[in-house]
């Protein structure tokens, strides 16, 4: 089942397309990371998925074919928006009570236990908590709803490195313990490397790259060799991006699974997720969808039946 499916999805604000021709399918049971430069359409895509806005073009479905914003979708999806909107004048206990009243399922014991572990006092006003604590409260509220899908928009923006680590640890625990699917957008590439197993790279409002992290890493390589020979290699190989460093050049190449022999005098390394993402971010026109995109299309046609 696909937790989010979008088909030619587009959203226009005034005359600007925030998201355009976005087609993707995020499988269930993943931690899917949505990355991209500012204004790439990450928040727009997430808002469409949680039903906060309606598409201008195309369509989007969640939880295996449910319309976003429908009662079933609202019931199964918990969303933590950017900048963690909590009612600043309500206490943490009131926020728990509020969320319990607004949802069919709410695990009060779980939420209280989590906040207790984190040392967040229930009587404190939400506005008086630190940014990290507010993010943890919002995450606790979201997880206590026992959602099937947890959507986090820039959850780590307000957090220091230690709080980021703790936050993602909690997300991962929930994912493993409760089988929650997670879709999160983030700028913090280093943090994603440890947690994400599905990656969607948005650029200029459309999908530039999407796929399982392992597949994406498996079909890309970094070649290091003499700068003088770079152009010759570029012609022969699918080079996504080249980093030049004095006499040496590093080429990120797409192998598409075929084991091309390494040219003499060159060295081959596996690529890290951060390197891969940065290379694609620097090359917004780099051929959009690598190998896994084709496989995704076959999945999609199964859905269509």
């Amino acid at each position: 089942m696909n937790i989010i499916e979008a088909s030619a999805l587009g959203k226009r604000y005034g005359s600007t397309w925030a998201l355009r021709e976005c087609t993707l399918a995020i499988p269930e049971g993943r931690v899917a990371a949505l990355v991209g430069p500012n204004g790439a359409g990450k928040t727009t895509l997430l808002n469409l998925a949680v039903g906060l806005t309606d598409p201008t073009a195309g369509s989007v479905a969640v939880l295996g074919g449910t319309r976003p914003g429908s009662p079933a979708a609202l019931d199964g999806i918990a969303f933590v928006a950017q900048d963690v909107p909590l009612y600043k004048n309500l206490s943490v206990a009131d926020m728990l009570h509020l969320t319990r009243n607004l949802n069919r399922h709410f695990d009060q014991g779980y939420a209280e236990a989590r906040l207790g572990e984190l040392g967040i006092p229930l009587k404190r006003k939400a506005g008086k908590l630190s940014g990290g604590q507010q993010a943890q409260v919002a995450l606790s509220l979201a997880l206590a709803r026992r959602p099937r899908l947890l959507v986090l928009d820039e959850p780590m923006a307000m957090l220091d490195p230690l709080a980021r680590h703790d936050f993602m640890a909690k997300v991962m625990t929930a994912m493993v313990d409760d089988g929650v699917s997670v879709v999160l957008s983030s700028h913090v590439l280093a943090e994603l490397e440890r947690v994400a197993d599905y990656l969607i790279l948005l650029s200029g409002g459309s999908v530039q790259m999407a796929g399982e992290v392992d597949d994406l890493l498996a079909c890309h390589r970094v070649l290091t060799g003499p700068a003088a020979e770079a152009d010759r290699c570029t012609e022969r190989l699918g080079v996504v991006h080249a980093w030049r460093a004095e006499a040496q050049v590093h080429l990120l190449i797409r192998t598409n699974g075929s084991a091309d022999p390494v040219p003499p005098g060159w060295e081959e390394h596996p690529v890290s997720l951060e390197e891969l993402t940065l290379a694609y971010l620097r090359e917004p026109w780099a051929a959009a969808l690598p190998g896994p995109a084709r496989r995704r299309d076959t999945e999609v046609s199964e859905v269509t039946k």
Partner: protein
């Protein structure tokens, strides 16, 4: 690339999945208790003030109507009543009350969520965005309308002495129940005005998305609506009555008076009377001010074949007018709330 068709499953057993409406009661109370408490304190203070000065007014009225008209003490009592409490007299000071309640409860209801970004929390919970909006607006609307209704009963009691039909003959201040500022303060119209101000506030807040500008817009729009209602619309609720009686009671709402002769329009007011007629009638006995009173002048005009016509609304139509005004304001309020909910549902914001 193959086109992906996303199958949207019909929402099966959707009704069973809904969070019960009553859950919003606690939510609404928790989020608006300070605003509601503020309105309760303000209205409570107003009620205590009206009650205290109202008792004084009623005592003064009772004293002025029961004294011996010939005594000089009685003249003092009448003057005392006529010059009591300039703040509340005429009802103008209380005109902004519905607008203020509406602006301070209605405008922030949705605008605060949009301004602080908390709508992204509230509208993604299981309760659902349009149900959240509808439940919250209906609950707040009922509370503010009921509070306004209670206050308006007290205000009706306060202004009762001014509406006594025999006041004029005793030289006491007398007001028509239709006088624009008093009509607004009585039961049905006052509650309905408060409700419509609230509904204007809710929609303005949704469209403007900022609390303070929404409050300002609400006050402006409500003021415009109240002025148009009082000055343009209200006189058309019912067809006025026409009478040839010279003495139309002071409690009536007089639209227009004019004179006819032989079924033809002659002139409109006393000042427009033909000079020869005035001259002929000037000889008749004069009143205490050295001029003929309007009544004697009118009799003289009548003797010369002129008939005075008056179009007016009798005081007995007061409640009909209240219900007509209350009815269309209620309908307008429901429409505004429905539009607000519809805009939220359409995700047009």
């Amino acid at each position: 690339m193959t086109t992906l068709t996303v199958h949207v499953r019909p929402e099966e057993d959707a009704s069973r999945r809904l969070v019960p409406w009553r859950r919003m009661a606690w939510v609404t109370w928790r989020q608006h208790r300070f605003a509601l408490a503020g309105v309760a304190v303000a209205l409570g203070a107003l009620a205590v003030y009206v009650w205290i000065v109202g008792l004084q007014l009623h005592h003064a009225y009772a004293a002025a109507t029961t004294c011996n008209p010939a005594s000089s003490a009685c003249a003092d009592l009448i003057t005392h009543f006529n010059f009591m409490n300039h703040v509340l007299q005429g009802g103008y000071a209380l005109q902004p009350v519905p607008a203020l309640i509406g602006a301070f409860i209605g405008a922030p209801a949705v605008a605060r969520e949009l301004e602080t970004g908390t709508f992204r929390y509230a509208w993604t919970q299981g309760f659902g965005r349009w149900r959240w909006t509808l439940a919250k607006l209906v609950m707040l609307a009922v509370v503010v309308t009921a509070a306004a209704g209670v206050i308006s009963v007290l205000l009706s009691w306060y202004y009762q002495p001014y509406l006594g039909t025999g006041n004029q003959s005793l030289s006491l201040s007398e007001a028509s129940p239709f006088s624009p500022a008093l009509f607004d303060l009585r039961v049905v119209a006052f509650a309905a005005s408060t409700l419509v101000a609230f509904a204007i506030g809710a929609l303005a807040g949704l469209l403007i998305r900022r609390v303070v500008p929404a409050i300002v817009a609400t006050l402006a729009v409500y003021t415009g609506l109240a002025l148009v209602t009082a000055n343009v619309l209200r006189q058309h609720y019912l067809t006025p009555l026409l009478t040839t009686k010279v003495n139309v009671p002071g409690s009536a709402w007089i639209y227009r008076q004019w004179w006819t002769k032989g079924g033809q329009f002659a002139f409109s007011g006393w000042r427009d009377a033909p000079p020869d007629l005035v001259q002929r009638c000037a000889a008749i006995p004069v009143g205490p001010l050295g001029k003929p009173s309007q009544a004697t002048l009118g009799q003289c005009f009548a003797q010369h074949g002129y008939t005075q016509l008056t179009s007016y609304q009798p005081a007995s139509r007061f409640w009909a007018f209240q219900w007509i005004e209350g009815g269309w304001l209620l309908a307008l309020s429901l429409l505004l709330i429905a539009v607000t909910v519809w805009v939220v549902r359409r995700r047009a914001v």
